[in-house]
């Protein structure tokens, strides 16, 4: 098992290198030079050229990307921001906790609401509760997050004054952002739990459990839910990615200094080296989450665990399982 984890951690490296290459290449071939934007519209060509030289943007593609990797490996830095001149890693480190706090709370919240609701809807299939929660899940899944943010802001901050409008001064100011980020994951978790439970509940082994005379509670919790957990875990893992994505809009609207906020402002300021750092950190979190969910699979399902410990075929099989879920 430990060998499997180590192997997976090593496999993250080429993925992250790939991410850097992809993002770097996209930014390199961008139509607007960052130097021109930084110097402003009044700048002369000489000034822009001088700025480009200062930032190292005049060098060829391979030299630039080579330097970037060299700095990561030898100095452990992601370069300095074009605009603020501070190390990108420091900027991210000071902002990441806010994003993680919101993302984590939102994920926990969505699991705490989505899973019980999904189970309830599946157990009472075709009841009014099932219809109502499914309808609500579909509806909330369709609300654009920025509209939701504005709506919550208007209602709870501007009209009712229950929570601050923006910023991160007190714990109350986190409530509205967390709710806005959590809504979409709640809907997804609920729908996934419901369908996974319905899938598991009509399996033969659930009938066996009933034939044993076990109380319905045991049948649902020990026999059905345990087998429905894999897709539920998958969706919880995916929720982390959704909260990261969602953080961009939510942090911008609620004015929270987090990763998403930094990302958005760096893009609009053409501070590409910062953008690149943000994407790299986000990709790291995503791949790490994928690894974590794969490991949780092994805890839940002995069949998957045995594939991991067998080693060789492990990667392929877990892909297959996930692919099946996606389809």
């Amino acid at each position: 098992m430990l060998r499997y984890i180590l192997k997976r951690l090593l496999m993250m490296i080429p993925v992250l290198v790939g991410v850097v290459v992809v993002v770097f290449t996209i930014n390199y071939f961008t139509s607007i030079s960052p130097a021109a934007v930084i110097c402003g519209s009044m700048a002369t060509d000489e000034q822009i050229a001088a700025k480009e030289q200062e930032l190292g943007l005049d060098k060829p593609y391979l030299v630039q990307i080579g330097t970037y990797f060299f700095n990561i490996i030898t100095k452990g830095t992601l370069g300095d921001s074009y605009i603020y001149k501070t190390p990108v890693l420091d900027m991210i480190a000071s902002r990441l906790p806010n994003t993680i706090r919101i993302g984590l709370c939102a994920s926990v919240l969505s699991a705490m609401i989505g899973i019980p609701l999904g189970i309830l809807a599946a157990v009472k299939q075709n009841s009014s509760l099932d219809y109502a929660s499914t309808f609500l899940a579909i509806l909330t899944g369709a609300i654009p997050s920025f509209c939701l943010c504005l709506l919550l802001q208007l209602l709870f901050a501007m009209k009712l004054h229950w929570f601050p409008i923006s910023g991160v001064k007190t714990w109350q100011s986190y409530i509205l952002p967390i709710v806005s980020v959590a809504l979409m994951p709640v809907a997804m978790t609920m729908r996934m739990t419901r369908s996974a439970m319905l899938e598991a509940i009509r399996q033969d082994y659930v009938r066996t459990a009933r034939a044993k005379g076990l109380p319905e509670k045991t049948v649902i919790w020990n026999h059905t839910l345990k087998n429905a957990l894999i897709p539920i875990i998958t969706v919880i893992g995916m929720n982390i990615g959704i909260s990261l994505t969602g953080s961009i809009i939510v942090e911008t609207i609620f004015n929270i200094p987090g990763l998403g906020f930094l990302m958005n402002s760096s893009i609009s300021q053409k501070d590409f080296i910062t953008t690149q750092g943000c994407v790299l950190v986000a990709a790291f979190i995503m791949t790490f989450m994928t690894l974590l969910t794969d490991l949780v699979y092994a805890v839940v399902d002995p069949r998957i665990k045995s594939q991991y410990t067998k080693g060789k075929k492990a990667g392929k099989k877990s892909k297959l399982i996930k692919g099946g879920d996606a389809a």
């Binding site: 992809v22 654009p144 920025f146 709506l151 961009i248 995503m286 297959l320 692919g323 389809a327």
Partner: protein
């Protein structure tokens, strides 16, 4: 599996003469029609497309005509959705904005679908090293959160209709490749494919008769769901000032413009927001309905 189930149905109908034999298509259409939510969603989408195409002829006002004397008007008979901060009719702008949203969404989804079908089929059919390389590359793309990726590409390409479409299209290739590859791999192992091979049916015929019809169903479902997601993503990008720029009306940038007036004037946020929500909802419901109709074993 679909093949197997239809076979069963046809066997039954031989023994039940009073039941009319139905073609595959009729059967699926019938199943789809029973799903009321999906039918309503389809009607709404048709209406949306109609409005988008004929926006210039049926919209009550010119979408760009400013009337500063009548700005920020609440809904009335003259302006059913009210007017915005420049006195422009919101209904007309939403109709026009729908055209942009649908156009960009359709372009983006076509780009990703075509690319994904080609790449995904290559990965699924050839397997081995080719498959491995393609899968590792999708790993890379899928480890970047979708919206971040779309923003980066969109920032690099610049704003505008075609550029936004390309940015969003490129971003959703990787997950679609996965989908197509896995449905092809699943099919490759199916017994009816092996049976056809054993009967000596040519590869080309197997692809035409079995692989394409059976991968098409999940693809159509995916396309429907993606259309909705992309509409949402466009509006998100535009809201952040990256996608479609004002003065071109787009639902996301309309909300963005309206947020300044949120406390006193809600129609500028509400109506474009509702439009996004309803179209997203319709495409989702349509996708679910299509999935149930085309592939009954996936019914949830």
């Amino acid at each position: 599996m679909t093949q197997v189930s239809t076979r069963k149905i046809s066997v039954q109908s031989e023994f039940v003469p009073q039941k009319k034999r139905q073609s595959q298509f009729q059967l699926k259409a019938h199943r789809f029609a029973r799903n009321k939510a999906a039918v309503i969603a389809l009607c709404f989408i048709v209406l949306l497309v109609f409005c988008a195409i004929f926006a210039d002829y049926i919209s009550p006002y010119d979408y760009a005509a400013q009337d500063l004397a009548n700005k920020l008007q609440f809904p009335s008979w003259r302006h059913p959705f009210g007017t915005d901060n420049f006195g422009r009719d919101i209904l007309s702008r939403i109709m026009r904005g729908g055209r942009i949203s649908l156009l960009v969404s359709a372009c983006a989804v076509s780009i990703s679908a075509v690319a994904a079908v080609i790449i995904g089929s290559i990965a699924g059919f050839y397997g081995g090293t080719v498959d491995n390389v393609i899968m590792r590359v999708t790993d890379i793309f899928m480890s970047i959160p979708g919206m971040l990726f779309a923003m980066t590409v969109s920032a690099a390409l610049g704003t505008g209709i075609m550029k936004t479409a390309i940015a969003l299209g490129v971003c959703s290739i990787a997950p679609l490749v996965r989908q197509i590859r896995s449905s092809i791999l699943l099919l490759k192992d199916q017994e009816f494919i092996e049976a056809s091979k054993a009967f000596g049916v040519s590869n080309a015929k197997i692809i035409m008769k079995h692989i394409i019809p059976n991968t098409l169903a999940p693809l159509i479902v995916q396309i429907s769901l993606r259309l909705g997601d992309t509409i949402m993503a466009i509006s998100g990008l535009s809201f952040l000032g990256l996608g479609i720029q004002p003065p071109t009306p787009e639902w996301g940038n309309m909300v963005s413009a309206g947020k300044e007036y949120l406390t006193t004037f809600w129609p500028m946020v509400l109506f474009p927001g509702l439009s996004i929500m309803l179209s997203m909802l319709s495409f989702n419901l349509l996708g679910d309905g299509l999935r149930d109709a085309l592939d009954p074993r996936m019914k949830r």
